[in-house]
Subunit: 348 residues, 2 copies
């Protein structure tokens, strides 16, 4: 498996938290792109089930994304204070806040699953796994991607043995996937060029790309493929909640916030984000656990104002269209955009 060998240079972002499903990954991989499953927030058991579900439907390669546990200490008093501020939300939704635990999202168990299953592609978010993890996965035949948000992280991931990088620009929806919570604000295009300057690795470009011309742009800038997440959120194969789907079609703008999870993530600007953005501490996964029951209740109630409505800046391009059809259309649009641009005369 090498990303340059994909029939279409389109990677489906892992979309942890519900939207990614075996059906979505299957549709994308079957159409010639690279579908992804999210291990984040799932049990190792469920992950194994998801992998089997994809394999039952397609022989095409697919990927699994893992969250690397963070090691940093957290300001417990700040988490307590934030919990205090969320009491009104808890009363309003009629559910208690979650326990702000510091877990590792089942890291070892999920690693064991992807190793045993010899998953074709594994990508890491929130940091760099140890060298031995990378070596073992490679020995199992797995192609290893590491998410970076700065050129420095890119160089570090290269030294650690990554096969390729996902360069995530500030435009991206969902969590900033770099090594620390404060990963700067690199726009995708500058990040992509600086990453290709800093390392010889193939780079997948992620962040705000949601149409064929956007894909063409990052290919022209040297990316091996484009990663799209928000573009798939409205496909029927995605597990996106109905309230989130509606918000994608009607909300106006996005912002980066720690309000929902204690880690910077981009979402549609809704009531919860506006009210709590300034108070939220940098404390992941503690704040994630704290707000999880609120968000689950809000999803059930269709209360878009209280849900983490992850979305990248290109969200207005997201359409309600089957994922396989979308991948084929994006490929055709990208191809056309590149031929058009290549026809421009340069010089007199």
């Amino acid at each position: 498996m090498h990303l340059a060998a994909l029939a279409l240079p389109i990677v489906q972002a892992p979309l942890a938290g519900g939207p990614s499903t075996p059906a979505l990954a299957t549709a994308v991989s079957s159409a010639g792109g690279l579908g992804f499953l999210a291990a984040g927030y799932r049990s190792a058991e469920d992950l194994r089930f998801d992998i089997a579900a994809v394999r039952a439907r397609t022989g095409a390669p697919f990927g699994v994304n893992l969250f690397v546990p963070s090691s940093g200490g957290v300001d417990r008093a700040a988490v307590e204070a934030y919990a205090g501020r969320l009491r009104g939300e808890s009363e309003r939704m009629g559910v208690p806040l979650g326990v702000p635990a510091d877990d590792d999202d089942g890291w070892q168990d999920k690693l064991a699953v992807v190793k045993a299953e010899r998953v074709p592609v594994v990508s890491f978010t929130f940091g760099l796994p140890g060298r031995e993890v990378i070596d073992e996965l490679r020995a199992a035949g797995t192609y290893i991607l590491v998410t970076v948000t700065t050129p420095d992280e890119a160089a570090t991931a290269h030294d650690a043995g990554a096969d390729a990088l996902v360069a995530q620009g500030i435009e991206a929806g969902g969590h900033r996937g770099g090594f620390t919570d404060d990963g700067g604000d690199f726009g995708l295009l500058a990040l992509l060029r600086l990453t290709l300057r800093a390392t010889p690795l193939p780079v997948v470009a992620a962040g705000g790309i949601a149409d064929g011309a956007g894909i063409a742009a990052v290919l022209a800038a040297g990316a091996v493929a484009a990663q799209l997440g928000t573009a798939f959120l409205r496909t029927p194969e995605a597990g996106t909640s109905p309230a989130h789907r509606e918000a994608l079609a009607s909300y106006e703008r996005t912002a980066v916030t720690r309000a929902f999870t204690g880690r910077r993530a981009r979402g549609l600007v809704n009531r919860f984000l506006q009210e709590h953005n300034d108070e939220a501490p940098a404390a992941y996964p503690q704040v994630h656990h704290l707000t999880a029951p609120l968000r689950a209740a809000a999803r059930k109630a269709g209360d878009a104002g209280t849900i983490n409505l992850w979305a990248g800046q290109g969200f207005p391009f997201a359409e309600e269209v089957p994922a396989g059809e979308l991948v084929r259309r994006l490929g055709a649009e990208a191809k056309e955009a590149l031929s058009r641009a290549a026809r421009r005369p340069f010089g007199r």
Copy 2:
């Protein structure tokens, strides 16, 4: 004059505050790009002189950039408080702080100059001129560009009669050029695609582009040209201060700050930015005038820690190379990047 008619799709950013010179604009325009003069911070007299200097050296089209005066009220107490915090800087540099005046940068006089001189291209920063200004300039044969940082601003500029837009991403060095101080954080690629979706106007892409592949990317995404600023800061034709030149070759990162001028602008992270970023109010041009003597003294003394070291995120690509040679090289690199990307097979 139409931007699509440029021999090379490269626009030199106006670079107000010293770096842009008639020599730089001439070199860029003579090489087939579009050179720019900055009217900002210059007198109408000096602007007329600069225009004559370009015309004496080339018959090629060039542009002039104007700052649109802002109309918003400013928190005078916040400006006073910031002045108080800068007292130590004033003592250290041995110069008094400037008077935090609310001027309009000689708007009417400079408008009269560009009208009388029938400048081929005029671009506006910090807002939208009135309809009558646009109509008069167009009657004088001028092609009119408006700088935008959001798709909404793009739609407004289209309605107001702009011929084309400069879409400025968050990656860009120097001031955020949109209509308000709070113009969001759109990355260039997403902004470009959304702007082309919002209006039928040609769009020049600006922000963090500093090499040929970056130019190729925005052309593939549908831009009519790329605007580069930081890439020209180290050319011998630029008026960049020696300390700023050295900083571009040695500093590590950039950030957006109001510390120097009271308006969001991206520069290399130096001492002044770090110490005053959190205190600076949104008050332009008051804070600009307040800190101007400090910055002038620092430039004279070669004290990079106190200068506004404007730079876009692509600054590591800036090289010490003659501007005309740079434009030709960027054009060749962009062309090559597009042909390479267009050769990729799509589909099986």
